[in-house]
Symmetry: C2
Subunit: 492 residues, 2 copies
């Protein structure tokens, strides 16, 4: 074992304590999440409920002590009144970590509950049991087949998620998971009575399976310790932080949610900058920044952009959206315009930058490929931004204006189209050395699910964003972060 | 006839000139759009192509002159070289309006083409023919069964769209149409050689079928005339304006797109404010503001918000998002908190504001209804913001954390659920008099299409937004607009 938290992330057996006998409720969700990851195919999974002999076909034990083998990790769904007793049982059983989904402690604001929470954590620690929570969703660790909800990818990856909020842990997994990212560990730690952000940042810094750290925080608890750990982590790995609860109402909500005391946005921002962390302001930015630092977009060194694709109106608003984020669209050199001329019809298209590639006609695909290649090779730019798709929800199917003559594409298999497109862009990026970033204008995949282009592009090291505005903001964040890291190690 | 443009919006017969004999291409799209609206069931639709006798089962005529009856409106798909000849034929035929999809004029930047465009328009006007375009998508007028793409609603409504860009005309129709709005007229006018924004604003002001005007502009052409018309229109009807092309690259793109000369953002903004128009900065804002002014959200008079729904993490970031837009979440009065207490479990929920209603248990629906009713009745607020859904893409189906125990709702028909929900909220709004605004956290409907909640809520006069950030921005825009209209007639 290399880190005190290692055993938490690799339990040899798990017990769900306080799972209700109905097929509903959060206990059933935790159970289904573990079954969905096939935890029980490799390691024992015990259910504990004194009033049931079997739940969902799995045997139930009356108490934790009755489980037949050792238990490393306990997930608690019992009411808070039984929490202390459960800690004692865990100590007696030799449990290594105890995840309290159980809530009602410091976040309740009730007299004595903050103290009760501290005592609970101290008792557990003294007995050799680490505590997650209370009031949290716990662990998603695909390598150990742990999960807090069903439908999460089974294959592991290199992103570590650290979240004070369970819902936001889920947002992070879904938001960047849908776009192709996979996870080493995701920890929802709630009130953080024992295991909390600082220790998790230190773990992430040391963890060989983690290359990128994505965090949602509400309070800063021991601010000095937290920022020291954040600094150590951000020094060696890209570390993205979203902090909630800056406003009076937000702080009030944070206090009710995870018992956190929030601080000022300015102080937090300055500390993040000093630490070399990338601070974002919204969940959407957290997702987009995570995609950007995991792909070639992280190599962008400036804002000189060449934009190809989309129609005339799209070009106009895109240029404005890029400018709002400090990105520029310098006019193409005459030599490049000459190269483009044979491919871009005179009527209704521009070859200056943005390149309005609302092509028509039979050689549409060939023309798009040729124009994209010329754009990617145009000298003097930091970034090639490629817009794909017709825009909007199932736009191609609806036959809306702006992207004429897509009949052929409409008939093709979208996944196959996406594969061809990504292979072509990856080859261009490889050849030219300049990052390519994709704006995927079709908002969703053919079945209403994630768009196949996203994960394919991610695997090829190419970032995709749902709009020019979001791509521009992600690049702005990256460039600002790079400036703030002067003097720190180059991460890429 | 009340307005010179009335005949343009109600042609007794239409001819598609230059439609290609293949089933593909823009001509086929225009044809399918008209067939989709069932134009030909009520009025003659002629196809003109000298090299085909029949296209898609419809008879083709060699020239416009050969069509057997009068033709009011011509859609031109011919190359620009034939444009002048077509104008002469239209004059001879007694055509009242000529829509040039045909492009390649001022927007091409080529020598002489701006002049050629002016001459074309002058020739047509002198001969009694009004010109739309060149380089545009033309008309969507459901009452006259005209459309520029397939799949657009057949039922008319009260929103008039005015767009220099065809793609953005489509964005407007899809973006707010998916959310329940319907249209009186939508005009894509491209280069605006004859019919252009000023005249369309005046038309909109006078049009009995139009209650709301939504415009996308690139250039301002005759700026003085445009703003005089905008002022007349905005004085009597809510008039929303998105202007593209403010940056150097955006202006370059606007010039290539519709031959427009763009102006400065500051001047435009000041002129919009003086005119009493609501200026937005992005297409998303245009959609959201249109929904806001069409629903009870337009009655919001201040930023004091009570937010109900969502979990703890959602509450925290929502509070921050509202504050960023100048909205406040004043803490609930003790009396209101007392009313809430029986409904909100102690553990992990807040009753202060935001009201964290991540309920669990069997009486979940009843509890949500009761808490929403208490929130809607809480004294001292300008706005009740209700968050629904589990968040994210098909979140309920994925069983993600944050909205526990939704099993029952997952099984119910989403449209039926939405109907119940809207009926409940509409009754609450009616009873309390205070606007209710919905944040619909499920991003899409069950089939990947529009969410059924949006159109149902719209019909009940309730605005829906896809995030708290977007709702907050729409309210901020409305409040700012209201302030700027001091001295102008109250619209609602």
């Amino acid at each position: 074992l290399h880190h005190p938290l290692d055993p938490v992330f690799d339990p040899r057996a798990v017990a769900l304590v306080g799972i209700s006998s109905s097929a509903r409720g959060r206990g059933a969700e935790f159970l289904h999440a573990l079954l969905d990851q096939r935890f029980q195919e490799r390691r024992p999974l015990y259910l504990v409920n004194p009033r049931a002999s079997e739940i969902q076909g799995l045997r139930c034990y009356p108490t934790l002590a009755d489980t037949p083998g050792p238990v490393d990790h306990v997930i608690s769904l019992i009411p808070r009144d039984g929490a202390r007793g459960l800690v004692e049982q865990c100590i007696a059983k030799g449990v290594r970590s105890l995840h309290f989904f159980t809530a009602g402690f410091s976040e309740s604001g009730e007299d004595g509950m903050a103290e009760a929470e501290r005592e609970l954590a101290a008792l557990a620690r003294a007995g050799g049991v680490r505590v997650l929570g209370p009031n949290c969703m716990g662990l998603y660790v695909p390598a150990a087949r742990l999960a807090f909800s069903v439908g999460l990818p089974r294959e592991p990856g290199d992103v570590m998620g650290i979240s004070q909020s369970g819902a936001h842990a889920g947002d992070i997994v879904q938001g960047i998971g849908d776009r192709g990212a996979r996870f080493s560990k995701v920890v929802s730690f709630g009130n953080g009575s024992d295991i909390a952000a600082a220790e998790l940042f230190d773990y992430a810094a040391a963890d060989a399976q983690t290359a990128l750290v994505v965090a949602y925080l509400e309070g800063t608890g021991d601010g000095r310790g937290l920022f020291a750990a954040l600094r150590r982590c951000a020094a060696v790995k890209p570390t993205l932080v979203l902090k909630g609860g800056f406003t009076a109402a937000g702080a009030r909500a944070a206090s009710s949610h995870t018992g956190s005391l929030a601080g000022s946005a300015e102080v937090f921002d300055a500390l993040c900058r000093q630490a070399g962390a990338l601070r974002v302001e919204t969940m959407e930015e957290l997702h987009d920044a995570a995609i950007a630092v995991s792909t070639s977009a992280r190599r962008v060194r400036g804002g000189r952009t060449v934009l190809v694709g989309g129609g005339g109106g799209f070009s106009v608003l895109s240029a404005d959206a890029l400018a709002r984020r400090g990105l520029d669209l310098p006019e193409l050199a005459a030599a490049t315009r000459e190269q483009l001329r044979p491919w871009v019809p005179v009527a209704g298209n521009s070859i200056r930058n943005p390149i309005d590639a609302g092509f028509m006609g039979a050689n549409r695909r060939e023309a798009i490929a040729a124009v994209t290649a010329i754009a990617a090779a145009a000298p003097g730019y930091d970034l090639t931004l490629v817009a794909t798709g017709a825009g909007g929800r199932r736009a191609a199917a609806a036959g809306r204006p702006g992207d004429p003559d897509e009949d052929e594409e409409r008939e093709a298999d979208p996944a196959e189209r996406a594969r061809e497109q990504v292979a072509r862009l990856a080859a261009l990026q490889e050849r030219q050395g300049r990052p390519i970033v994709v704006v995927r204008r079709d908002h969703e995949g053919p079945d209403g699910g994630p768009h196949p282009l996203d994960a394919l592009a991610y695997a090829a090291g190419i970032a995709t964003f749902a709009s020019v505005a979001r791509a521009a903001r992600a690049i702005e964040l990256l460039l600002g972060w790079r400036r703030s890291r002067a003097g720190l190690p180059e991460l890429f």
